[in-house]
Amino acid sequence: MSSRTLPLLFINLGGEMLYILDQRLRAQNIPTDKAKKVMNDIITTMFNKKFLEELFKPQELYSKKALRTVFDRLAHASIMRLNQASMDKLYDLMTMAFKYQVLLCPRPKDLLLVSFNHMDAIKDFVRDAPSILNQVDETYRQLIEMYTALSGGEFQLIRQTLLVFFQDMHIRVSIFLKDKVQNSNGRFVLPTSGPVPCGTQIPGMIRMFSCTGEEVRRLQFPSGGGYTGALREGSFQMFGERVIKLGTNMYSVSRPVETHMSGTAKNSAQHRPAHQQC
């Protein structure tokens, strides 16, 4: 489907990986300078110029296996080592987090704001390392150049391509279960209340017009939810408020144990949560 999907998949999954690693490094009381070195090394590799040049060329998505290999290597781009089980957990968690964001983003175009939330956070991780910051900014400019001109329909195609990639993945994640945004069967909760997307009116109104264009009749019907008006649109520039929260860091220091996960829904015969840390 869309040949412009891969950069968004890579950057958002990478962003989620960095959130988790950052949280684990802090939870394990790794000295600050050492932790910073780990983060910087991974971000340098993630934003390697040659690699990104290839990534931004129009193409089909990588296979699931190939993408996993890319992230296995990326996670090991520093001195930090993860065993197989930790890497599996890490990958499951970042994958489900991005699936959630793709599914929930109000308009397809808001996928770009989700990506910008990740990019903003990555910039913050490397704010003291100007050369890495430059690398990240270069990718930022590429993202803006490639994506801001796309239509809603083209973004919907990107979103649909991502949803095919994530199809049938129902791994249960404790942070989502605890927040009640995921059901015990691994499916995400879809709200029927809250703000409608930008450009959408709250459902409930029918307006009818005469042949000359005058409004002749107005009918109302129950919306079936508790919707409110749209929030203002987030910034699609390099700076500015994104308004939507999807793609921001959900692993704050005050929620240090949230990277624990329980088994997949497919193995639901064994409902014991597997508390494995990365």
Binding site: K57, G152, G153, R159, Q167, D168, H170, T200
Partner: protein, 336 residues
């Protein structure tokens, strides 16, 4: 007004694609066929009306002779012509036409695929049977391909290419009332919301181009000369096909609309969207005043499901069926 019936299980889950459900009623055999697209596979189920027998078939997106490649399917839809019924599949590689039971592929049309992928994706999407012998299929370039279908056999010909859309075609629909009095036969929609209204024939004639407002029109229907269009903003608009006059504007859904359907005998309209709601509306035509009215009849929330397909199962709208992303079942509702 409607109550939930026993769901039909399918072999693999539905992908998030516009109009991802097609229904064909085969009255002589008391059967209904359903198709749902999953990535590069089409799930096909035939269900007996007594609810006792289900048989399943899966169709792969074969590209002519190249079976190895796994291109994603965009849409599967039955096309009913007076002389025959065909199942049409559109993918990233081309267009496949099967006998209605999915047993034999009778035609394959390859799309022009550039050797290195371009930023503009290539795919076919939007399928409609028009009048006696045409099947029209939309392409991502904006072209609409018109195929001339013989009453039997595989001598299918690409007879015309309509070049009015500048953006990817999303959906199309032919006049579904069966009335011979309607001038317009076909409406086609695209990513920018532009609607083209056509009269079919040896040369298709553009009757009207209804401007979009840069919002994707993801699903469209044509009933008794009225275009019903569903948009990415969750709005439904009713237009007079030939003049483009807006009859009604409905703030129908809180998210992107994925599917519309009309029960031609009763004028019931079905809409399904990403907001997990499926709604039933009633359209009334008043020929004296040349006006169309729409009222809301019924809503059903399919909890935690982004709806991708919603179709009536009969011409009266007595029953309808719904599919959703990641869902391996077809949910059915019947009037109480």
């Amino acid at each position: 007004m409607y109550h939930k019936e026993k769901s039909i299980q399918i072999k693999s889950s539905a992908s998030a694609l516009y109009n991802n459900l097609s229904v064909l009623r085969i009255a002589p055999r008391s059967l209904t066929y359903f198709t749902v697209v999953h990535a590069n596979v089409v799930n096909m189920v035939s269900a007996s009306w007594d609810g006792l027998n289900f048989s399943h078939r899966q169709l792969q997106s074969k590209e002519g002779n190249i079976a190895a490649s796994s291109s994603l399917i965009m849409q599967a839809s039955w096309c009913v012509l007076p002389s025959r019924e065909l199942l049409v599949l559109t993918s990233q590689k081309g267009i496949q036409m099967y006998e209605s039971d999915g047993s034999i592929m009778v035609y394959w049309h390859a799309l022009d695929i550039p050797e290195t992928p371009t930023a503009q994706a290539v795919f076919a999407r939007g399928i409609a049977a028009v009048r006696e012998n045409y099947i029209c299929v939309g392409v991502s370039s904006g072209s609409v391909l018109v195929f001339d279908i013989p009453s039997k056999g595989s001598n299918i010909m690409l007879s015309e290419v309509l070049e009015e859309h500048r953006e990817s075609v999303t959906d199309m629909a032919s006049e579904c009332s069966g009335s011979q009095e309607c001038i317009a036969d076909l409406v086609t929609a695209d990513d920018s919301g532009i609607l083209c209204v056509w009269k079919s024939g040896e040369d298709f004639q553009l009757l009207n181009k209804i401007p979009g407002f840069d919002v994707c029109c993801s699903s469209v229907k044509l009933w008794k000369g009225t275009v019903v269009a569903g948009y990415g903003t969750g709005q439904i608009r009713l237009y007079e096909a030939v003049t483009g006059i807006v009859h009604a504007e409905v703030n129908a859904h809180a998210r992107w609309i994925y599917s519309l359907d009309i029960a031609p005998f009763s004028g019931l309209l079905l809409s399904g969207a990403e907001d997990s709601l499926v709604r039933v509306w009633h359209l009334t035509l008043t020929p004296e005043t040349n006006s169309v009215e729409i009222e809301h009849l019924y809503s059903e929330c399919v909890t935690d499901t982004q709806i991708c397909g919603a179709k009536f199962c009969d011409g009266d709208g007595y029953a309808f069926a719904v599919t959703g992303y990641d869902l391996s079942e077809i949910i059915r509702y019947t009037q109480a």
